[in-house]
Amino acid sequence: MSAAATTGTYSPAAAAGEKRRERKEELRRHLAEDADWPRADGRSFHDCRPAFMQTGPTTAASGSAYAEFGKTKVIVSVFGPRESKKAMMYSDIGRLNCNVSYTTFATPIRGQFAFSFQGTDNKEYSAMLHKTLEGAVMLHTFPKTTVDVFALVLESGGSDLPIIISCASLALADAGIMMYDLVTSVSVSCFGKNIIIDPTSDEEAWQDGSLLVAYMPARKEITQLTLTGEWSDGKITNAVELCMDACSKLCDILRELLKDASSLAE
Amino acid sequence: MEYVNLLTGFRVDGRRPNEMRQLKGEVGVVARADGSALFEMGNTRVIAAVYGPREVQNKGQQVNSKEALVRCEYRMADFSTGDRRRKPKGDRRSTEISLVIRQTMEASILTHLMPRSQIDIFVQVLQADAGTRAACINAATLALADAGIPMRDIVTSCSAGYLCSTPLLDLNYIEDSAGGPDVTVGILAKMDKVTLLQVTKYHELLLIAASFRTPLVLSSIHTNSITTILHTMCSLVKHFSCHLYPEGHCFL
């Protein structure tokens, strides 16, 4: 491990790493070949993990949301609209500033992040979050000012980015930022001919391909779509439709949540 | 190691001590820049692009509104050196070379003709085989000329070193990493004036100068005209007597 080499300390791995790998290979084979092998956490292929979402964990922010999907735990705070940085040039539409960071204990091995990390900031996810939300937020409603969307991943347990996106859209709604629609996002992993929804980090580590969809159900618009691995046309169609369906359901849950929260406030 | 063959007097790459590497220049290589040039000295290859004169982007950087603001950034491509390393942007060496190029070019540009404006010079090293500093200055000159920016004179630059008791013109990578003293000179060719003189291993040079008591051979190259494309680039070595003051660190 590179982390161990540089710091001089290491995280003791579980006994017999070789065995763990074999087990994973087996898991992978099952996911790729079997019709509907129950996944490691007992779900079937097209089941999402049980989700818990809540608005308002961070009182210091204009709006905030917490999301927990299985082991993945995310907090998003929204600040503003507030004054843009001095260096920014005049803009007649508002700015959206997104940042995604991880806690040092988010990953099983402390501070072991992918290469697109600088410190604990994830540059890739920050950019992706921005690209996903800019099509949904009505930027013209807050000219000259900036809305900051900051996400902190407390624990990473797979499907981090889609959960950050959904959580951010809930936090934006909580902050009262005008949006065309709530954006929800779901990703799938592909194993051989099978497609499994809402993968865990173990599943993500062994997937053949992945596909992420961010969707605005009321407007029927895709605001983000990314794909890795080798896919045929038909499989893309299937996977995108599966994701859009899950996004719609997740969006209904968010809507109920916001309604409950506002009625509670009254 | 034997850097100069005792019998033939040839260097490791077959050049004579006062011979330059193959030079090649090309202007207009970056379509969207106001001026650009590719310059090669042997295997060292750099691209320079000039943007401007244009409105000053960051008013805070403007010191004197009666003169143009000249800025420069030097960058090495990740693949430019033999061993691939990702270097952080703006490391100390790049900052230093950026400054050297900026100051050298500033001395030649007629900045007072372009008040309240900014000229950006960007140099990108594609391949580094020693002498990037000199190559960058030559490329920047070509790019500035291509952009039609008024200059006092053409600035040309070349380096020289001292190995095996022989002054060597235009070191390559092997000679450069030998660790001998080296000198980079930038001159205004027609006016016959020196604008840049950088000496490393100054103390060794002092020793050499003291023991030989001879004028140190330095280098400069002459360029005839670089109005459109480099027609000719005749290189000749100039004897350059410099007085090495024992207590001085930098002299110009």
């Binding site: 690209k131 099509g135 053949d208 | 379509a31 295997n43 693949f79 942007k89 960007f122 594609l126």
Partner: protein
């Protein structure tokens, strides 16, 4: 940054709507491409690709390394892109970092395949020298020298050409009896292995301007985009990666339509590139 007047914007949009763009191209037509190989002698493979006024250089360097614990039977490939300030003043200093990272990520997504290695452009198991001990690490570096739009497609094309130009030195391994010891590796200077680059995909970016979408957009056209989708297509017509690059949302049916158009255009682009590679190799 592209500063356009209202009239110029109108001209570009109108041209695209009528299938006759400002430079005389049709909507799904690429600019003239020029390809040159072996431009960086120190690298194992390199290429320069010019697409109109866009110019990029890709270099491939191979270094011996150690395979990761999770994949002991595979080599490693990493892709980094840098945007030189020569291409645009806004890439000065740290200004290029964000954009370079975006391009790097998009290329990684399209060329490296899934986590398990399925669908990768380069067969990672061909990079292994000794299982679990020694492998080749491929460093693919892209440099944007001059920019006039459509950088991602140009970079992917340059990488494809550079990979076909790449020779990996042949390695002789003398296995010592003790398994713990590092095996001795003898790198050959004369014999090189060529890659099978037939499955390396190209990227086709479809830029949506108004109701229509175009390929190979120039900077001016890119400034008018409402959204863009980059699709990576290989010779077999499989989609190897896809990135939606910001902008407004898209109707799902439009997305599917764009994918099938990109597939079609991509196949044509691959054959153009193949003949260019052959010509460049013949010239060398």
């Amino acid at each position: 940054m592209v500063g356009l007047s209202v009239g110029e914007k109108h001209f570009i949009r109108g041209g695209i709507a009528q299938d006759l763009r400002a430079d005389g191209r049709r909507r799904l037509q690429f600019r003239a491409i020029s390809v040159e190989t072996g431009v960086i002698p120190q690298a194992n493979g390199s290429a320069r690709v010019r697409l109109g006024a866009t110019e990029v250089i890709a270099s491939v360097k191979a270094e011996l390394g150690k395979p990761s614990i999770l994949h002991p039977d595979k080599g490693k490939v990493s892709i980094f892109v840098d945007c030189s300030p020569t291409a645009a003043p806004m890439f000065e200093g740290r200004g290029s970092e964000e954009f370079s990272a975006e391009l790097s990520v998009a290329l990684q997504r399209c060329l490296l395949g899934g986590k398990s290695g399925a669908g990768a452009a380069i067969d990672l198991s061909s990079l292994i020298v000794v299982d679990g001990k020694v492998c080749w690490d491929l460093y693919i570096d892209g440099l944007v020298v001059s920019s006039d739009g459509n950088l991602l497609d140009a970079l992917a094309a340059a990488i494809k050409v550079a990979l076909s130009d790449t020779g990996i030195p042949k390695v002789n391994v003398s296995l010592s009896a003790a398994t713990d010891e590092e095996p001795e590796v003898d790198v050959s200077d004369e014999e090189f292995l060529q890659f099978d680059t037939s499955s390396v995909p190209v990227i086709v970016t479809l830029t949506k301007v108004g109701k229509h979408y175009i390929v190979d957009a120039t900077s001016e056209e890119e400034s008018q985009m409402s959204s863009a989708v980059s699709v990576s297509v290989n010779r077999h017509g499989q989609i190897c990666g896809l990135t939606k690059r910001g902008g407004a949302g898209l109707d799902p049916s439009v997305v599917f339509d764009m994918i099938s158009v990109a597939k079609h255009v991509g196949q044509q682009f691959i054959s153009v590139l193949d003949s260019e590679i052959a010509a460049a190799e013949a010239a060398e």
